[in-house]
Symmetry: C2
């Protein structure tokens, strides 16, 4: 095992990174908050983003957008949202006249991300939009353009960019702790229920790659700090049970990065596949376990250079919606202080471009 002192040395830079980039704690004045309206009241909004924002320091829920009045009314009561701040998809554009809402959180099916991001930006609201950013690179670009034109912030909700295991891991890779990264393994998948919008190509844009494989893909780019140069891929459908008439069931791909690092990954909607990303370097191995998880994300550093053989595992025991608290606070502060956001729309677009290349490579070989 790595000694405590050794680990402290290695993760010195990493520790700094786990502190959020902006911190207003020292201010004496009453805290100004960013006022959010979640758009779409599905699981991700109701069970994760909204409770996360309620617990955050710099965000609060002041509006709601939903096609289900009953659900909206119930949540409005819970979050003290006035009736006048509840919108439907039909009345959504009137949000521009509401001075009690600064930003929206887009928790809709993927195909609606572009439309509601653009409408929100045109209504003068900042946008925090779920991943995947949209169903095409073209849509991503129009979202970026609309937010730029209206001088609104746009962030893609890759919550893992705010998670301590990821941040420590990135700093360890950057610091050279594992040497040069040679090969990367990664995976994320689950056995999908039938009848969900994720299986509808028009709404989802694609299959498990778009929804869950994106975590392993994004994590490899985030940790390595490079963009893939070339990509090859295959997709398949095995289960002819009606679930996969529109999107792929399985996808496997290999990417080569400019440094020469090679990553091979798989994703599926046909099996429960534990998510992880693992970087093998000349001096050691670094793994993020449960890399797509809402909680319980671990980081394992194994050093095997110069005869050493030491393993350190750190588990993030913070409970869901912890990642959403951090994400919400970060975006809130970026808007309140007018700072650039990261992961930006451009970051979301990069993943869309890569996933498009993966689907194109798979289609070519079909």
């Amino acid at each position: 095992m790595l000694s405590r002192r050794e680990f402290v040395r290695l993760s010195a830079a990493a520790s700094a990174a786990t502190t959020l980039p902006l911190n207003l704690l020292a201010q004496a004045a009453p805290v100004k908050k960013l006022r959010y309206a979640p758009v779409g009241l599905g699981v991700i909004s109701v069970q994760h983003f909204m409770p996360g924002t309620r617990r955050s320091q710099f965000g609060e829920i002041t509006g709601l957008v939903s096609g289900h009045p009953d659900k909206a009314n119930k949540l409005a009561a819970e979050y003290n949202v006035p009736a006048g701040n509840i919108y439907t998809y039909e009345t959504f554009d009137k949000i521009r006249d509401n001075k009690e809402i600064d930003a929206v959180y887009i928790g809709l099916p993927n195909s609606m991300h572009a439309e509601y991001t653009i409408r929100a930006a045109e209504a003068g609201k900042h946008v925090l939009c779920e991943k995947p950013m949209a169903v095409s690179a073209k849509e991503c670009q129009s979202m970026i353009d609309a937010c730029k034109k209206n001088n609104r912030k746009l962030m893609i909700a890759y919550r893992c960019h705010f998670q301590s295991s990821y941040l420590q891991a990135r700093e360890l890779v950057r610091s050279g702790a594992i040497g040069k990264v040679e090969v990367i393994e990664g995976a994320a998948g689950f056995n999908s229920r039938p009848g969900v919008w994720r299986l509808n190509k028009k709404m989802a844009g694609g299959g498990p790659l778009m929804d869950i494989g994106i975590y392993a893909l994004n994590a490899s780019r985030f940790l390595l700090g490079e963009e893939p140069k070339v990509i090859s891929a295959y997709t398949s459908v095995i289960d002819q049970d009606g679930r996969f008439n529109e999107v792929e069931e399985n996808c496997g791909w290999t990417m080569k990065f400019p440094s020469g690092a090679i990553a091979s990954m798989t994703t599926t909607y046909g099996a429960n596949q534990e998510s992880f990303v693992r970087l093998h370097g000349s001096k050691g191995t670094l793994e993020i376990s449960n890399c797509a998880g809402y909680e319980g994300i671990g980081m394992t550093l194994h050093l095997n250079n110069m005869g050493s053989n030491e393993t350190t595992t750190q588990m993030d025991n913070a409970k869901d919606p912890h990642q959403f608290v951090n994400e919400s606070d970060y975006f809130s502060q970026c808007v309140l202080e007018n700072k650039p956001v990261e992961p930006s729309g451009e970051e979301g677009l990069r993943d869309l471009n890569i996933m498009t290349r993966i689907y194109e490579a798979a289609a070519k070989s079909a």
Copy 2:
């Protein structure tokens, strides 16, 4: 955790498979043994195959082939090999006149496998040849042809085909325990010392794919029981330290099988990469850990179908050269009873063909 009873049910067929296919224990007559001469006295012969055969029931070491007289004499004393049964590479063909040697074990650099297999077959000896079978598919075919022409047995020494975790895993896959296999992950690699023959293209035929990646590749075929339909791949060299002037340092590849199962794998000589193969099915996941190991190979079955969430891990605690004992005994019995061998030369050729396709795919994209 899986209950004992549940596990027994699932692995009923598997248990049978862990018993070696042929068993002469019941015979009363004195045991007839197959008499081996190892060709090449490197680590694999001296530390693994020879001690394994000494402990086996149906094999014994009665000859030696080496270019190092000192080493040969020392081992001859240890194994009671008469001086007249020691050959050099120059005198090798005279082995045909030796009635005390039935078979050879080829533990040479890859580029010498074909030549010595063919010369042994022509000298009337059966051949147990290390993996990879040779450096090209053409060589493999000539080895198969030579053994057929001389009516000699040819087996490729994939020792994992005789290892209990592998055998149990294959039976579990065949029995449908994990349902339909959707995606497969696999890896195997190590940080190579400089100056070894494995880095010499002419002697090795290729890099880590040929030497260590082959374990993950072969394991996926062995467990799935299918041959890849299409393959894409990349190779790279990152460390410009003289080690990789001839062979690849890293390789990643994705394979699609006829059933639709997709496998993504990596291998490297630039990092210590723990070997494993993991099959994700519609009802559960099956993993072989340390899949390239001489000992300590584990099998983990995780069932997650119909609300179940049970994990069973079985570790093979038998110590090296246990796998070589089994392998040696199996080949010995096949020869003594004139039974077909598996893994045959055709099986070795299949891997060579696939590795050739991997290198071709990587070359195309370079």
